[in-house]
Symmetry: C2
Subunit: 507 residues, 2 copies
């Protein structure tokens, strides 16, 4: 979380934003001020680490200092940070990365399994000087891209080319690389428009703001488990044409913050829509291992596209994956990749040139990504432990997904779509008129008002729906399902009481 | 290096760039074409991984395939990639990172030294869930920022605040974060101008192109060991005022590609200039550990600024550091940090918000950066080995710096400033008129023509001066001093012969 000091510095911000301060700034002789800095950077918002999360950090420091609260700890359900909430790393992943890090010593260690050593050696053989400390190709270590291509080919039943894959600093980095290319660097009607879901993961609005593109929001259908609704997509793009030049569409499947898993039919319909409208497909598929609901299955956009016939097979599609989510949750290693197919060769040459200035993504992160795509196979020494650990994590997430959905729907005034996948629930909260008035009086959005009180009274930290976007007049919040089962139960119990009291208070 | 396939895809690029192809593109139904993609991304150039380097990768593959060449291996002197050229990682750094990666097992391993375990534990205690797999603060793990602040305070004799420090993916990432804020998002005279040295490290021109800023090139004084020349700075900014709004100045010290170490007087003069002109100071100090020449010493911009008196102490300054260079050369871990002082609190709040969308830099990279700033102390178990390894690397670099300078200056038609620091020499080559004509005939810049022949005939891969910028009518190339002494000797011997023959051929 950000520090108390940082949060304090957010306070003056409001004042700073008044024009008067411009002069004050100049008087204080600053070269860079809120008034003259890059307006696009200023616009960026990232709710997942926004003011409520900063306040949560403050509260934790207050608790440390012995300040009395109606709770003894903050329950952080604001960010998909698996290990921070107690999930243990998978043994095999850490063994391979440790072997890659200190091979002179650990390759001789008889207590490390042979298959971990083989994978580590394979990765090191692909590194300059056989060291994790050498830069890799800008697009990533070749053997790792080969392993990823194999993984994709097996997943989809369609070939994948290592030259279509580039590793990145988490998925966020490659999402920016692709979106950046779609920008027109023009204003008005010629400004690039990118279709994004509402609600969305705020990286997309932040990136769109940074590159001065136009966000074409399309509403997910809450009444239909957050599916994409084609008439709504058509409405959104039609209205946006007078404002921008629509160039691409972002689909998040499984959903963040919404937790849905798209049906194959829905994906086909979206692909047909993108083809008709001439849009570049960007599929955020970082939760492809996180599927819980009976009857739900992950269908990659690439697989579906490949199976829709020759007229679709040539469409440009970027699919994003990360080592931060899934069952591994290795967020801190910042592993990620993008498979981008059917890119024009000349554009691809420029894309590779553009990432080369970044040199490469963390090679230890690349190694983590490799193990995720190339796990122990049946019969290998580490297979059983790996599967046991993997299935335990996914099994617990499934339990928690059900628990959260049931609990929210058992509370009057709250409805929540089934958490079919990913790591989040996005419940709909009916707020009493009086609460909305009270929020306005406090100068807060109603959902922020609600989540702030939830935090101050229970220590539960969730992110208001307005940070992701929601239909006018509806209120939500996003919570992860990551806290351990016992802690999540405490969360649910506390939450029930809080909501009941809140509603009574403002009835 | 990039793959052969990639290089091939560069060939069609030339054709693609002809307008006619635009239509062809549309016919082929691509959404994203060279014509309609982000022009700023298209402009980006990064010579350190440019066509000659791509060709070097091809030649390596040809050698593997048994193609006969006048040489048996490519000597890669194009990039400061220490481990790739055979430098060994420091034992202590890898021990700490391995301990952080697999602590359950390795913390119990009696063969790991106690001080490595203590440092690893200290880092893990600062991580969510005590795991490298958790996201850190966007600005980095708190204890690591504290260690960096201590390091800076000891280096400069002036306090450093952990809240002024943020970790990044190498130095490149934080350089972009700071430059981005200085952009005006306007055109014409209101467009942001950033002063950069010529020659410069191409990350700067690439970033300036990406954000549509205006590069204000100032020539380093080759006749004065590549020092900054104040009249030249004044000339550059004066001429640029009609084109842009100058906002910041980049100084690379020790120099890349030029290898100079700035004197304290020179730094003071630059700071006075920046103050007069109201420029944001950006000091690229990633080579601060790489000082070789007698009488040369590293003076940080912050130290000098702090000691120039109260009217300078309030100036905005960003200093960039990396774990990729120095004696450690851990490029692949992508560790880096920026200390930015005197930033307006409101701007700082926005800066932290802007990096929060990236979540955080690789935590294993942060761990490497920590060890670099918090190495074993005298009396601790790992101290002697650490110092032995560190001094060996720096000692060899010093030997090679002298060797390279002497050799180049012993060759007729070549002059080379003393390599006082960093990892590079940037010799000046006099090219015969005939060679320049031959280059024109071949459609190449003369220095590219020269370096291409050097590569094809000797396997030596260096980067043409035009990739960094040089005075009209002068020709240079950048070579690293990283190859092992024996290999560097072979390089020098081969080079002498090549240059002699080249000159004769075109005399």
């Amino acid at each position: 979380m950000l520090t108390t000091k940082t949060f304090r510095s957010v306070q003056p911000l409001r004042k700073m934003l008044q024009p008067a301060v411009g002069c004050a700034e100049q008087r204080r002789g600053k070269v860079l001020t809120v008034e003259n800095m890059n307006p696009h950077v200023k616009q960026m918002e990232y709710a997942v680490r926004g003011p409520i999360v900063i306040r949560a950090g403050e509260i934790e420091e207050e608790l440390k200092r012995g300040v009395k609260k109606p709770f003894t700890e903050v329950i952080r359900a604001n960010i998909g940070d698996c290990h921070a909430t107690g999930q243990k790393p998978l043994t095999f992943i850490r063994q391979v990365v440790a072997l890659c890090t200190d091979p002179d010593k650990l390759m001789k260690d008889p207590t490390y399994p042979s298959d971990a050593k083989e994978r580590a050696q394979r990765i090191l053989d692909g590194c300059g000087g056989k060291s994790l400390g050498a830069y890799s190709d800008s697009s990533g270590v070749r053997v790792i891209r080969e392993d990823i291509a194999k993984y994709i080919a097996e997943r989809d039943g369609h070939p994948s080319d290592p030259n279509d894959i580039f590793l990145s600093t988490g998925a966020s980095d490659s999402i920016k690389t692709i979106m950046k290319m779609l920008m027109t660097a023009k204003d008005g009607k010629e400004r690039a428009g990118i279709m994004i879901p509402i609600p969305q993961y705020p990286l997309y609005t932040a990136t769109i703001a940074e590159y001065n593109a136009y966000p074409i929001g399309y509403f997910l259908d809450e009444s239909n488990t957050w599916a994409l609704n084609i008439p709504e997509l058509k409405r959104a793009i039609k209205e946006a044409r007078s404002e921008c030049k629509p160039r691409g569409i972002v689909i998040i499947n499984p959903g963040n913050p919404t937790g849905q898993v798209l049906s194959r039919d829905n994906i086909e319909a979206v692909i047909r829509f993108a083809k008709e409208e001439g849009l570049f497909l960007m599929a955020d598929e970082v939760y492809q291992h996180n599927i819980y609901a009976e009857g739900s299955a992950f269908h990659s956009f690439k697989k579906v596209l490949m199976e829709m016939g020759p007229e679709y097979r040539g469409m440009e599609l970027a699919s994003f994956m990360s080592s931060s989510k899934g069952y591994m949750g290795e967020c801190g290693f910042r592993g990620g990749y993008c498979e981008v197919i059917n890119l024009d060769p000349a554009v691809k040459a420029i894309q590779i040139k553009s990432i080369s200035a970044k040199l490469c993504s963390s090679v230890s992160g690349q190694a983590v990504m490799d193990v995720v795509c190339n796990p122990p196979k049946s019969g290998e020494p580490s297979y059983e432990l790996f599967m046991k650990e993997k299935n335990m994590v996914l099994g617990q997430l499934k339990t928690k997904a059900t628990m959260v959905t049931k609990t929210f729907n058992s509370i009057e005034g709250i409805s929540c779509n089934v958490v079919q996948g990913s790591m989040y629930a996005f419940p709909n909260i009916k707020l009493p008129k009086k609460a909305i008035k009270a929020a306005e009086a406090a100068g807060m959005k109603p959902d922020v008002f609600y989540c702030t009180q939830l935090l101050e009274e229970t220590g539960i930290c969730v992110v208001p729906g307005s940070g992701f976007g929601q239909r006018e007049g509806t209120y939500h919040f996003r919570t992860t399902i990551l806290p351990p089962v016992e802690k999540l139960q405490v969360f649910m119990d506390k939450f029930k009481v809080f909501h009941k009291n809140f509603v009574q208070k403002y009835q």
